[in-house]
Amino acid sequence: MTIIIWVIIAIVAILIIAFIAIFNGLVRLRNQVKNAWAQIDVQLKRRHDLIPNLVETVKGYMKHERGTLEAVTKARNLAQQLASAGPGERAKVEGELSSALGRLLAVAEQYPDLKASQNFMALQEELASTENKISFSRQFYNDSVMQYNNQTQMFPSNVVANMAGFRPGEFFEVTVAAEKEAPKVSFT
């Protein structure tokens, strides 16, 4: 009789330990997703901060391109307003900002004075790098979300996930067609 009780206790103990291990794994993955999102946030904010500087530098040289400049400023303001929205929403506005930026830089190609200015070249490097950082942090974020989603959906961790209320994460996919290729930041 007592043997059976011990066996039951052992099984329950094993189940509890397994539960804790899986729960901790899920927590770790979820925190990694949050951390990765914070990284993207940092880079997006950095881009928002760079843009007014860019517009100022460029305005003196590109007097007839008012439309393009205004489009960039508007897109940037909109993106800044939605800074606390979820990944899906932000992907959309950030994508539009990227395409507006791309158009501005494409137009800047035709102004050799602008291209030769030291300020503009430094800014270009900063912008190119920020675009890269955004896409790398996006890459890392999506990979983390994938890992986390796998764990919340595959057996046996999905049991723990449902019991403890872990919800699958949202991908940060850029949906604007024009942004499927990164903006052409050229160094000429």
């Binding site: 790098s129 790398f136 890459q139 890992q147 050229s186």
Partner: protein, 400 residues
């Protein structure tokens, strides 16, 4: 990504354990031979190993950086390099930014050290900064930083210490055997049967000769495996293996030899600094796999994940041996490659890069910068002691 690191960690641990066993065996039999006590020999071997480990662990980074004459740079000194390192830090998921160093050397090479991803350092030569474009630089930096992320640096440092201890023990043992032979036989004839004694002598001698060789082979095999892994990781982070491939091509094509490097630090670099022209394909004593193979594997990749690298590896080397065990590959959706970043025509870009790198070096050497009213920036070396300088463009005398 994380399972793969764990699996390689397990395999590498086995190799290190193998080396540890070699060391223990050597210590034991040498102890038996010299003082009739196996455990005594073992103990001495462990002490030597512990001392060398501690020194290597705590001072390894600074020793390496000092011997390679690397200068630390601030973020503003070289924005492009700093940004590339930061991009790779984000892509690899490292928590803190590594310190960045530039080595003033026209040879093309780079390395990274750091037993802990939180305290890492990356160093590149000025030649590399001048000759590579942004994608290529990204590939190289990604490769180096993945060494830190995958704990390769810690592993190879530990192995180097094990190897060093084995070599030291074997060397001293051989000296004592040669010069102390007479005394030994007289003393040891009292302790055991002569047959047992003969076996111990033979085993000790065999181990003394073989252990360093075996340890070296293990060390080099481990080093080559980690290099392939770093190439694969770089491709995964950048999503652009062609960048690293063309960087390796440029590095292989250059004939400059790195000025300050020795055999101990060689494995840390991205390219074997001791390579000779026409080194044979599977050279067992090389710390790095042959460059042509690395380039071909990278170019054969159809996607950017570890699976794709593994497939390319098997295809290029005509082998069925898996590079990474299947169980360790995470099933990331097929990872797409990205397109190249458009760059200016090579010549113009290279002039800019040379200027940028030289400025960074001069800043780190504390050159003074003076702005003349005509717009020229005058850079004065620290040895310039006069009070004023004449601008070469407009002739104006500027105060220092």
């Amino acid at each position: 990504m994380w399972q793969q690191i764990r699996s390689n960690r397990i395999r590498s641990v086995f190799l290190v354990i193998g080396m540890g066993i070699l060391l223990a065996l050597l210590g034991y039999f040498l102890g038996l031979y010299f003082f009739g006590s196996g455990t005594g020999g073992l103990f001495i071997a462990l002490i030597i190993w512990a001392i060398m480990s501690l020194v290597g662990y705590f001072q390894g980074d600074s020793i390496l950086l000092a011997t390679s004459r690397a200068r630390k740079i601030a973020p503003d000194d070289h924005p492009r390099l700093y940004n590339v390192v930061e991009e790779m830090k984000i892509a690899s998921g490292m928590e803190t930014m590594p310190s960045i160093y530039i080595m003033d050397d026209p040879a093309l090479n780079a390395f990274a050290t750091g037993r802990d991803p939180k305290k890492a350092s990356v160093a590149v030569t000025s030649g590399l900064l001048q000759k590579l474009n942004r994608d290529e630089l990204q590939g190289v930096v990604g490769h180096e930083m993945s060494h830190v992320k995958n704990r390769d640096v810690l592993l190879m440092a530990m192995c180097a210490v094990l190897l060093g201890t084995i070599v030291v023990l074997a060397w001293y043992a051989s000296r004592f055997m040669i010069f102390g032979g007479m005394g030994r036989t007289r003393r040891s004839s009292s302790s055991g049967g002569s047959a047992g004694q003969a076996i111990i002598i033979i085993v000790a001698i065999v181990l003394m000769i073989l252990a360093p060789i075996l340890a070296q082979l293990i060390y080099f095999a481990l080093s080559r495996r980690r290099e392939y892994l770093a190439d694969a990781s770089s491709a995964l982070y950048t999503r652009y293996p062609e960048g690293l491939a063309s960087a390796l091509e440029k590095i292989a094509g250059s004939t400059d030899q790195l000025k300050s490097v020795n055999k101990a630090t060689a494995p840390m670099y991205i390219m074997n600094p001791f390579r000779k022209q026409g080194m044979s394909a599977e050279d067992l004593t090389s710390t790095h796999p042959p460059i042509s193979q690395r380039i071909r594997i990278l170019r054969a990749m159809s996607g950017a994940s570890y699976e794709d690298y593994s497939a390319a590896y098997q295809q290029v080397l005509h082998t069925d041996k898996a590079f990474i065990p299947a169980a360790a590959i995470t099933t990331l959706e097929s990872v797409r490659l990205r397109t190249a970043q458009p760059e200016a025509p090579e010549k113009l870009e290279e002039v800019q890069r040379v200027r940028e790198t030289t400025n960074a070096l001069w800043n780190s050497h504390n050159y003074k910068v003076i702005q003349c009213t005509c717009g020229t920036r005058l850079r004065l070396p620290p040895s310039y002691k006069k009070r004023e300088i004449r601008c070469p463009h407009c002739g104006r005398i500027n105060p220092v």
